[in-house]
């Protein structure tokens, strides 16, 4: 892409991407640490996650202000307008991702006294790993303006949904087996739900990258397979 005649416009656009990269990096770290704090039942780490979520919020506010000012000042069109609008939307998705990660970390405080078998964490760990990989890929797709990579992320979200379904059933089964598991399993279930939501925000970002590159939107009929809202496990 050639440069604008007005060079300060290019600098402003570069700054937007730099902040998105920063936000994305923070969101990845937050999610990883949030899971660690839960797995290790480490309330201290959990608290630090809560604190660094504020940095993401701050970046989102800055991006909001900058994009609005740029629209007012530059009256951008075509790919410039798509770029600016995409930044605004991605910032929103990353901010929500941070919030959801923070919510997982908060649960580390709640379950810190509980005794739980390590096997319970395995499903959630896999979900977190997949969500992290998706998040990383979509941020790369944005940085490289790679619509195909974004499309790959978009399609992959189905896997997170599938993991969530099976984890949902698994945790419900544990709860039925031993009511003493209910407290912990409920927190893990909410944690899994949060990660599933993070996956949805990641696909939102993928859709925005696709729009940024091609100027057309992806249809909203992404393969979805989260059927937990209609799932019930009956006692035999």
């Amino acid at each position: 892409m050639s440069e604008h005649i007005v060079k300060s416009f290019d600098q402003e656009l570069l700054l937007l991407d730099k902040k998105i990269a920063q936000m994305g990096g923070l969101a990845e770290r937050l999610l990883a640490q949030a899971f660690d704090s839960l797995e290790r039942r480490d309330p201290k780490l959990g608290e630090s996650v809560v604190a660094s979520d504020r940095a993401i919020d701050q970046l989102e506010r800055e991006l909001q202000e900058q994009t609005i000012l740029m629209i007012a000042r530059r009256q951008p069109v075509a790919n410039d307008l798509r770029h600016i609008m995409t930044v605004l939307k991605i910032a929103g998705d990353l901010e929500r991702t941070g919030d959801l990660a923070k919510n997982i970390a908060k649960r580390a405080l709640a379950v810190s006294g509980e005794n739980h078998p390590k096997s319970l964490m395995t499903g959630l760990k896999h979900m977190t790993e997949l969500a992290l990989r998706q998040l990383k890929d979509v941020l790369d797709a944005y940085a490289e303006r790679d619509a195909d990579k974004a499309l790959g992320v978009w399609r992959h979200d189905e896997q997170i949904d599938a993991m969530y379904n099976s984890l949902f059933r698994e945790l419900l089964t544990y709860m039925m087996e031993d009511p003493r598991n209910i407290g912990l399993c409920t927190h893990l279930l909410f944690g899994a739900k949060n990660i599933e939501r993070i996956g949805d925000h990641t696909t939102n970002i993928a859709e925005n990258v696709y729009y940024l590159v091609h100027g057309t939107t992806l249809a909203d009929d992404r393969p979805k397979s989260d059927d937990t809202s209609s799932t019930l496990i009956r006692r035999e």
């Binding site: 892409m1 050639s2 440069e3 005649i5 416009f9 951008p76 075509a78 399609r155 057309t216 249809a219």
Partner: protein
């Protein structure tokens, strides 16, 4: 896996525009000024009763093309126009056609307001009078008042009809010129940067007027203001170095143009 790409809003617009009747059809239009090939093989349709905008850097040929539509280029020595331009399927370069009559059907408004050094009333009455469009004084007055109303100027000048047109503000003068153009009941109004000498309020009034005028007239506007083209037009054509680079629904041109040159120009990356 099936990946459906949503049918975009812009596609709907394209289809709607395609359904509209063609008012002006240009086919392979070339203009030479002496040795200079100023306009190269331009083929484009202007739909009826809408606003079409021509954009492009200075010297790209957009004004040259605009002036072909009412044969204003005939008056320039050394200017040759070839190709075909039809209005309502009738060739406007037909030798048997009277260029003066054509210009009554195809009015023009220029960059700088250029009222005659006459009263407000006479500025508007001039055209209908020379074309014999009014049979009595009362009828002529009616035409003047109607034209001033359509140009959104009547309320501001109704007590000053006998004052010189040149005494009005710039924005009022430009609307007076529009009133003068519509007084002879044209079908097409050509506007060559009609707002470039006006302040934002006067510009907004002209733009509002344009959207009202499309109920009756086909408007073709040349503008350097990309935002203006985006606001007022339904179709936009981008010219560069005498070529028509890209033409389409305004939404497409400004959201997702097909040509790199269009994109570079509208986003301020040219050169």
């Amino acid at each position: 896996m099936d990946m459906a790409v949503q049918k975009s809003f812009t596609q709907d617009v394209t289809e709607a525009a395609a359904a509209k009747a063609v008012k002006i059809a240009a086919r392979d239009v070339n203009v030479h000024y002496g040795d200079k090939h100023a306009l190269k093989h331009v083929t484009v349709d202007v739909p009826d009763k809408g606003v079409m905008a021509f954009i492009g850097p200075s010297g790209c040929g957009k004004s040259t093309f605009l002036r072909c539509i009412n044969r204003m280029n005939d008056t320039i020595p050394g200017c040759r126009v070839s190709g075909k331009i039809e209005i309502d399927k009738a060739d406007i370069y037909d030798p048997s056609l009277d260029a003066v009559q054509l210009r009554a059907r195809v009015g023009m408004v220029f960059q700088k307001p250029n009222p005659f050094p006459k009263s407000v009333f006479e500025n508007v009455a001039y055209g209908p009078r020379i074309h014999g469009l009014a049979n009595s004084k009362a009828e002529l007055e009616q035409v003047v008042v109607t034209s001033l109303r359509r140009a959104g100027l009547f309320e501001e000048v109704k007590d000053r009809l006998a004052d010189p047109g040149t005494g009005l503000s710039g924005g009022q003068q430009q609307r007076l010129c529009i009133a003068r153009a519509i007084a002879v009941d044209p079908e097409v109004i050509l506007m060559d940067e009609p707002c470039s000498a006006l302040d934002p309020i006067a510009t907004a009034k002209i733009e509002e007027l344009m959207s009202e005028l499309t109920e009756r007239y086909t408007i073709v506007i040349v503008t350097h203001s990309m935002q203006q083209a985006a606001r007022v037009s339904q179709r936009t054509a981008f010219f560069h170095l005498g070529n028509l680079v890209e033409e389409g629904p305004t939404e497409v041109i400004f959201n997702n143009p097909k040509e790199q040159r269009t994109q570079d120009y509208i986003t301020g990356r040219f050169g």
